[in-house]
Symmetry: D2
C-alpha cells in the first residue's frame, strides 16, 4: 500500500488499555485558562516517568463551558482510576487553584468517579461552601481574587494509550516537517491528545537493555547512526525517523487520529523526503489494541 | 511611601534559601527548544507539590548557546542538590531526550555538580559515546533522528525562592492587568523565574489550617469574600488581591525583579485601580531572606 | 532626574494631533478574532507610509463585547476622519469580512461618524438585511459560513500620535531587553497602541536629508556608528538607542503610557546596561503636544 | 471520488498567473524576525484591495539564512514586477527597516530584479555604504541600534495565485475545524502561502453584483442562509462552507498544497461533519491554471 508514492508498511501499532478523564478549566479570559492548562499538563509525557500522560484537548468557546467563560479541556490518562485521582489532586491544586480567576469542572459524566474538589476544598479552611445543582456538587473556596469554583468530582473511562506511527524520511528536517503537518492536523481532533513535547518523539525505545537495571533503551533498529553497527530496519536512504504517539478515549478515536496524521504526513508526496510510514509494536504481546496500518488507511 | 499615588506598605517579603541549577536546551529551530522547555518546566510551581520549581529564564540566540543552535535556558530550584538531581534526571529524560533534534548542556559552571547525562546515557544501550572537551564531558546517544547530545553534569548554586509582592486593587480585572504588566517586565530579566502559571498566584496561603492534616490553607486575611466574616487586612475598597512570586539565583536578582515588578504594576497610577502594594511574610521566622519593600524601591 | 541610577534627560517628547477610532472584532473563538485583528492592523506603522497607524488595544472577554463572543479591540489613528474611513473600509473588507465567523462593531459612541458597514453592506448583493437596535444600525450580510454582522458606523475622536521616548544603552541587546520590558508593560494599558513591529523603532529619523526628494532620513545624531563622523548626541559608552512610539486617545493616555514604559525600562537599574532616557522632538514647532519627561515621571 | 466517505466533487479550482518574490528577514532573535515579517505581511489578502498578497512562508534556522542569524522567509505575490517592487519598497521601509536588529535579503536569485535596498539606501542620508560580495550588492545604513543591512535587489518569478478548495460541512464549527487541520498542514509546506487571515476565507465572492459600481459580491450559490431564497449549490444538510486559498511559486507547488489540504480536511471522515469538497472557478475563462480535484487527489 502507498500514499502519494510513500510506502505504508504492512504492520500494526500496538496500544494499551488505560483509564482517562477530562476536566474543563475556565477563566475570565482565554489566555488564563490556557496558562493553567499548560502548567497542569506539563511534565506528563509517560505514565512511567511522570505518573500521568496529559495534554490539552481543545480550547473551548464560552458557550461550550459550564460557566459560560472561555475554557480549555484537558485529558489525563493513567494506569488506574486511583493513579489519575492522585495526579489530578496534585496538578489541579498546584496549577489551577493557583491561577488567576480559574474554575475547574468535570468534562465527563459517565464512569467511575475521581475526586476533583473533594479534597481540595479543605484549602478553604472551613470557609468553603458547597452547592448542589442537579446531581452535581460544586465547591466555592475563598481565595485572594474572589472564589475558586471546583466541581466535586469528575468521571473516568476506559481508554487507549500509545497509538503511534513512524515517519521514515531522508533527513531530520524532512521528517520533522512531515510530522509537524501531521501533529497540526491531529491536534484539531477531539477525544485525543499527543502527550509528547510538540506531539513528536524522537527517542523510540525497545523493552530491555544490556543494563539489567534499565527496563527500556534506545530502539537501535531505527537509529540511523547505528546502521552498519547493529541490526537495522532502515534502508540506506533513511536519514531520520520520528514517531507520533496518540492517546484517545476509544480505539475509534485513536484510529481516526492515526489516519489524519498519516494522510497529512504523506500528502506532500515523496518529493517531501518522506519514504515510508511504519508503526511501533511489541509483537502484539503487550498491548490489547492493535491498529494495522492497512486497515487504518483503508 | 507611594508610587504614582499607590501606597507601598512598610512591610517585607520573606524568602527562602534554596538550591538552583540552569540547563540550556538547544534544537535545530527555536520552536523545538521551546517545546521541550515548556514540557520540562510544567507542573513545577512549588517544591512541596511538584518536587521542584522551574521555569524558562530566557530564549537564547544561536551565538549564546554551546552548539550555536537556537536555545532556551531553564532554571530549576529545589530544597537540595539531591532533589534537583532527581528531578533533572526525570524531566530531561521525559521531556528533552524525547524532543526532536534536542541537546542539553550545563548552564552554570561553578558549584556542586548534579547529573545531567551521567545516568541518561544508559538509554544508549551501550552505543553511547563519550567526548571530553576541555574539562567538560559530553555524551552522544543514538536516537531515531540522529544523536542526543547531553553534557554529563551541570552545577548547582545557593539561591533564593519565594520572593514576592501583593497587588491590592479595586477589582479582579484591575489586579490582573497590573500583575500582567509586572510579569511581562520581570520575565525579561535574567537569573529569575516566576514559577506559577502565567507568573501570578491568586491562592495565597497561610501556615496551618483548622484541619490537622493540612499544613497550609487559604490566607483568609487577604480574601475579599471573607471580609466581615473573619479578620481581614483588606480595606473596603479592595476587591481583589494577586501575588507575584519570584525565585532568583541571588538576593540581588530577586530584589531587582521585585523592583521591576512593583514599578511596572504601579506606573499606571491609582486610576488603574491599584490601591496598595504589600508583601507576604511569616513574621520573619521561616525564611532567611527579607526584602523590605521600602528598601527595594529606594 | 534619575531612576535607579539611570538619567532621565530634561527634554520633551513632541506628539501630534490625530483622529482615532476603535472597532471591536468578535468571533466564535478568541483565536479567530485575533487572526482578523492581526491581519487588519498589519502594515500600519505610520500614516505617511501606510495611510493609517493601527494596532490591537486589548483582547476582550465575552462579557465585554456587544454580542457576548470573545473579541479584540483595535485602534486606528489617521490624519483625518476621512482618511480613517477610507482605511477602515478597505481593511475591514479585506481582513475582517473574510475571516471565519467574524463580526465588527463600533468601539466608540461619541464623535464624528465614519462608515463601518454602510458601504460594505453592498457585498450582500441585495440580500443584506438592516436592523436597528436603539440608535444603532447593524447590517447582516449572507456569507458562506452564515452571516457577517457589521455595525453601520463607528465614531472618531481627536487623539494624540507620536508620543515617544528613547532608551540609550551600552549594547543593542541591553537596549532591546529594556524596551521589551517597557513594551510588555505598556501593552497592558487601555486607550493606547504602539504602532511599530513589536512596539519598538530602531530607525529614528530627522526631517529632511541631503537628497532633495527625500523628506526624512536617519537621525544621525543618535546613530552610534556615525559618532566621530558627524555631530552626535551619544556619549562614548552608548552602543545602541531604541525608541518606543505610542499613540493614545488623549494626552493623559499617552502620558500614562510613557510613564509605565520608562519606569519599566529603568526599573532594572544601571546594571541592566541602560544609561539614559531621552525623547524625540522637533524643537516644539511641529507637534501640538509636548510631554516633558520630568513632568511625566513626577 | 471520495475520501473516507467525503465526496470530492468533479470540478476544478481556477487560478491566475501572478508574479512573486521571496525576501528573507533576519534578526538577532527569532521573535524579532517574526515581528517584522508579521507586520510586513499584514493587510495583504488580495491584490485588488491591498496591492499585494503576502505571507510568511517559513521560519528559518540560522544555518539557512545569509547572515547566520534566525530568520523568516516571506513571499509576496502581485500582478506585475512593478507592483511588487512598489509594495516591497513601502513594506520593507515601514516594517523591516524600523524593526530592532533586522536585515533583509533576496530569497530568490533567478528572474527579473526588483529593488530591495536600492531606494531604501537613501534613508542613510549619504552615510550608507555599499558592499559587493560576488555578484550581490548589499547596503549598510546607519540606524540608532547599529546598521541596517539590506541587499540591493531580489528576483521575481512567474507564479500562481488563487488556487483554492471549498469545505462543505454540516455546521460552521465543523467546517472550521476541518479547515484548521488543512491550514495547519499546508503551512508546513515550502513555496506557498495562504494569504487570508488564519488561512481561511468565509466570504466567497462571484464576479459582478446588482450594483453597477461593485465588481464582486457574495457568492449566493454557497450561502446557506440564502438557500430557498436564491439558486443554491448547497444540499439541505450543508450548514456552512469555508474556502482555503493558496498562492504558490509554481502550479506543482499549488497542486501539492491543495492535496495536503484536502487530505487533511477529509482524513477525519464523514463523522467530522465534512460532507463534500468542492472548488471555486469562473468556468475556466479567467485564470490560466486549472486544478481538477480528481487529478489533484489521484
Amino acid at each position: 500500500m502507498n500514499r502519494h508514492g510513500i510506502v505504508i508498511e504492512d504492520t500494526f501499532a500496538e496500544a494499551f488499555g488505560m483509564q482517562a478523564t477530562r476536566v474543563i478549566i475556565t477563566a475570565p479570559e482565554p489566555r488564563w485558562a490556557r496558562e493553567a492548562a499548560v502548567s497542569m499538563t506539563g511534565f506528563a509525557t509517560s505514565v512511567i516517568g511522570c505518573g500521568v500522560e496529559a495534554g490539552i484537548e481543545t480550547e473551548l468557546a464560552p458557550e461550550a463551558t459550564p460557566d459560560g467563560r472561555p475554557g480549555v479541556s484537558v485529558l489525563l490518562f493513567g494506569m488506574s482510576t486511583k493513579a489519575i485521582g492522585k495526579q489530578l489532586e496534585k496538578r489541579v491544586g498546584q496549577c489551577v487553584l493557583t491561577s488567576p480567576g480559574s474554575a475547574v469542572y468535570a468534562g465527563m459524566s459517565a464512569g467511575e468517579r475521581v475526586d476533583l474538589g473533594r479534597k481540595l476544598r479543605y484549602f478553604g479552611d472551613g470557609h468553603q461552601i458547597s452547592k448542589l445543582i442537579g446531581a452535581r456538587r460544586y465547591w466555592r473556596l475563598p481565595v485572594m481574587d474572589g472564589e475558586f469554583i471546583c466541581e466535586e468530582s469528575t468521571a473516568c473511562t476506559a481508554a487507549v494509550g500509545g497509538g503511534n506511527f513512524l515517519v521514515l524520511a531522508r533527513s531530520q528536517r524532512q521528517a520533522l516537517r512531515a510530522c509537524e503537518r501531521a501533529v497540526a492536523a491531529m491536534r484539531r481532533l477531539e477525544n485525543v491528545i499527543l502527550p509528547f513535547p510538540g506531539g513528536i518523539v524522537r527517542s523510540g525505545s525497545k523493552v530491555g537493555s544490556k543494563y539489567p537495571a534499565l527496563p527500556a533503551s534506545t530502539n537501535h533498529l531505527y537509529c540511523p547512526t547505528l546502521r552498519g553497527v547493529t541490526d537495522s530496519r532502515l534502508a540506506p536512504e533513511i536519514g531520520a525517523v520520528l514517531e507520533i504517539v496518540v492517546n484517545g478515549l476509544s480505539d475509534e478515536d485513536v484510529r481516526r487520529a492515526l489516519r489524519v496524521g498519516i494522510e497529512s504526513a504523506c500528502a506532500a508526496g515523496r518529493e517531501s523526503g518522506v519514504e515510508r510510514i511504519s508503526a511501533g509494536n511489541y509483537g502484539g504481546k503487550l498491548g490489547k489494541f492493535h491498529f494495522p496500518l492497512h486497515e487504518v488507511m483503508a
